[in-house]
């Protein structure tokens, strides 16, 4: 593993996308602020906006760093560098997820902070965390599919499926007896169900990343 080159490749991607990330963070924070306004309409606009920003940012960063780089032939430029395919894969996995996290973490932190400090019920925190983590899981899956398939149509189909799944997941989680009834409560209710779901989400991220690394590590050549 060529750590030095992996760092340089991640840094290259960071330089390419840092301005967009700043924009997404600003928009995400505005959405979170809207959620604290004393109006249901504005609250729901804020929720939709926030989800859109988190999903949109992941799609932008992931598809640009993986598929567009191949489609626009910058990949040929990178293949000539002193790296192996696995170095490139690791840079895309760490870089893609890392750059997205730079956007995801502040937005989620602001959201949780606002829930705790505003008139919004603190009971929203677990479901907000679970749903934001689900978007992170979807981002990890999309990233791995993009790296493995190198195909824009496949990646877009997976993205659509993940978005549909997110909606189903949101209703499923809100309907759980261990979560739903506590959403509008003034206190946070972290119970075993919440921890299990969060652990499962982190587990899925670890699994898809490991599988991608395993598959790519068996490839000696780029083409």
């Amino acid at each position: 593993m060529n750590t030095l080159m992996i760092t340089k490749l991640i840094n290259k991607d960071w330089q390419l996308y840092k301005l967009y990330i700043a924009g997404y963070i600003a928009l995400g924070c505005i959405a979170a602020i809207l959620m604290t306004m004393p109006s249901y309409t504005v609250f729901y606009i804020g929720v939709v906006w926030l989800i859109t920003i988190l999903i949109g940012a992941s799609a932008h960063i992931i598809l640009s760093t993986t598929i567009s780089e191949i489609k626009e032939s910058q990949f040929s430029f990178l293949m000539g560098l002193p790296i192996k395919p696995i170095d490139y894969t690791i840079s895309k996995l760490i870089g893609g997820l890392g750059i997205y996290l730079v956007c995801w973490l502040p937005i989620v932190a602001v959201l949780i902070g606002l829930i705790l400090t505003s008139k919004l019920p603190d009971g929203m925190v677990p479901i907000a965390l679970i749903l934001c983590l689900e978007i992170l899981v979807a981002a990890a899956i999309l990233l791995c599919v993009s790296i493995l398939s190198s195909s824009l149509p496949v990646s877009i189909i997976v993205m659509v499926i993940l978005n549909v799944f997110f909606n189903l997941f949101m209703f499923y989680v809100a309907g759980l007896n261990e979560i739903g009834p506590f959403i509008e409560q003034p206190d946070i209710a972290f119970n075993s169900t919440v921890f299990t779901i969060i652990a499962a989400e982190i587990g899925v991220i670890a699994l898809v990343v490991s599988v991608t690394l395993y598959i790519k590590s068996r490839k000696a050549c780029f083409l």
Binding site: N2, M5, K8, K12, Q15, L16, E72, S73, Q74, S76, F77, M79, G80, L81, P82, I83, K84, D87, A220, C221, F222, L223
Partner: protein, 302 residues
Amino acid sequence: MQDLAIQLQNVNKHFSYFDLENVDLTLPKGQIMGFVGANGAGKSTTIRLIMGLMQADSGDVTVLGQSMPKMQTQVKQDLGYSSEEMKLYGAQNLAWHINFIKSVYPSWDDSYAKELLHRFDLNLEQKVKQFSKGQHIKAQLLLVLARKPKLLVLDEPTTGLDPVARQEVNNELALILRDEERTVLFSSHNTADVEKISDQITFIDRGRIIDSHDKETYLDSWRRIQLELPSELPLQPTGNVIQIEQEGRIASVISNKFDPLILEAYQQQNIKINAVENMNLEEIFLANVNRSRIVRTKGAQQ
């Protein structure tokens, strides 16, 4: 082995609709080799195998004394690669690309980069997406050359350029490559480009290397002889004749190992020699391809 920059031994690579077969290729250090073939002949596949971007099904690929693709990380440290399909990041300028490449290669030579920047007439601050195709190729060459690689692999760098830009890039490339002792593999389907730059020339067609010599050997050995025959009977091959075209009593023959003795042999058969013509590289390439295809067709029929 140590004096060879590139060595391919009996390399095979199979695809659904194309096979690279039994490729043997050697490029000594300090030489510039033109790698010529029609579109789809196997030039890019061979170059990808040399670069370690692709794994051969069988055979050995050794570059700068190291086995590929196993040692690709180490080899690519000393290897500069540029291809026609390669693109830089459009939203960034040339300075950004220079900083990136400079951070990767400790051998980067700033003063040489400045010289190339001036010679190529490129603007550091201009975004790559605003470059013309010629400028884009020059920028790529700058990024490759200024890190002073031991081996330079250029895969059709001038393909797709208009004649003016092509001549400009070729002139600059010829000047730069003459400047220093470099080992270069330069692929093209344009024989004029290759003739200008190369010491050695290798022809490839339909996945097979069909000929490989130094440029002077090609130009010295190949001749077209225009003949006037005493009758319309078909001319029989004599000596190293690889192609005969005959129409009535007028014949044109091509020899790939020209010897003046062949002229004496014709004269002894009462054949009048109208002209003995030198052949340019394009004519040699085409004759070579035709001969190779005839031999393969005959081989397939047997």
